[in-house]
Subunit: 220 residues, 2 copies
DNA sequence: AAGCGCAATATTTTCGAAAATAATATGGAT
DNA sequence: ATCCATATTATTTTCGAAAATATTGCGCTT
């Protein structure tokens, strides 16, 4: 793997885990230390993070971890529901047995994967996050629109940043297992309306929960 | 303006004008000559172009100008219609007089701005393209969703790459003035259905025209 | 004490060359 | 002649330092 890709992973991880909190100034010298490499690959990686919205850039004034706000989260979630609803609906029309199988398999995995205990003050279960992303990706994967899928991907990335709001509080995360189940069932039964409703509720609930339990200091 | 921004403009221009055709391999040494600077800002700029979809990157194998295909154009246009329809509808609900004024003013400008004659074998009217973008941006600007607007922006950028398909043929471009007029009128009359229909037709017509007159050699 | 200009410092951005990787050419075996 | 291994070349990626730009601290005036 190239250095710039390493740097991307390291920094992305640091941001999503909260080691680099929202709004933090990202000095290149510090990042070089963190990633153990020279400035070039670090900058390359920063450019990618800017593209996905995890980092903001100001000309000649460096980079900052994107800041979080309730307004932005609401915008994000509403847009995500709109996009993924469309994509899920189309996937229900177009998806074949392989599509169903991918949903069932990825659902199974997140149900079996217990989330890590919040022993760490900074709790961040990367494994769960990856598998969770797989599940939601599987649902919409057969929508037939490459650009839409790419957009959903960046929306998911930005949304994951907001998960950080709750990961610092005691209880970790609410149990969303049942919601996942409902979505998957409805999708495989080709019940588009039910599936879309369940998906929307899942995202809305998650957002509501995040804002409720949010550590105020993390919101702009 | 920083060097990397200069490089971005120069390369973007070269791609949209067709001087760097779809699929062209982008050697850093050539790009350094083209932009008159070192490799760092060139790479920085390439990263931005990758983010907007005008350029593709392959690890350790450099960069290429994005290639064009009928399938991708259809995906692009369908998605653009879906997104902008939503955004236009919301803008019609939320927009104030300033919104109307911006539409009227930007429409006026593109109507008065005559497109350059196709004397150049490589014809590319940057001025018109900018003003055209302004008009479509104005229509959706009051939708209230930052992420949606950002997405529409990248869709527009990718779409502009496809305009290249017709710019090499004799007649330049069909007259879309009337279509612009219809959209603007309906929007300002707050007739959402009519406005959305006119917008969709405008984009569909443009895509159909592009694919009809396309120089086959440019399509993958 | 508050505001301003200027020097000192910190940081970002860019450069030119070195290292790492991929593409191409060369030569020998079958 | 064709195929494979190896050497050569071309290209991308990374480095460490220099240049450009922004920030901070200090003494001065009002």
């Amino acid at each position: 793997m190239s250095r710039s890709e390493q740097a991307w992973q390291i920094m992305r991880d640091a941001i999503l885990s909260g080691r680099l909190g929202p709004g933090t100034a990202l000095k290149t010298s510090d990042l070089q230390d963190l990633c153990g490499m020279s400035v070039s690959p670090v900058r390359e990686a920063l450019a990618r993070l800017v593209a996905t919205g995890l980092v903001t850039a100001e000309h000649n004034r460096g980079y900052h971890v994107a800041s979080l706000s309730a307004d932005d989260l609401n915008d994000l979630v509403a847009t995500r529901i709109r996009e993924e609803s469309w994509a899920l609906q189309r996937s229900i029309e177009l998806g074949d047995e392989m599509w169903e199988a991918r949903i069932i398999s990825s659902l199974h995995i997140i149900q079996r994967l217990p989330r890590e205990k919040p022993t760490d003050p900074i709790l961040y279960d990367r494994q769960w996050e990856l598998r969770h992303a797989d599940f939601h990706q599987a649902l919409i994967s057969e929508c037939g629109s490459k650009v839409t899928l790419a957009f959903c991907h960046t929306l998911r990335d930005q949304n994951d940043h907001y998960r950080r709001l709750s990961l610092t509080v005691e209880n970790g995360r609410r149990n969303a297992g049942e919601e996942h189940n409902d979505i998957a069932q409805a999708a495989i039964n080709r019940d588009a309306k039910k599936a879309v409703d369940a998906l929307a509720q899942h995202y809305n609930e998650t957002a509501r929960y995040l804002l409720e339990t949010a550590n105020e200091g993390l919101l702009r």
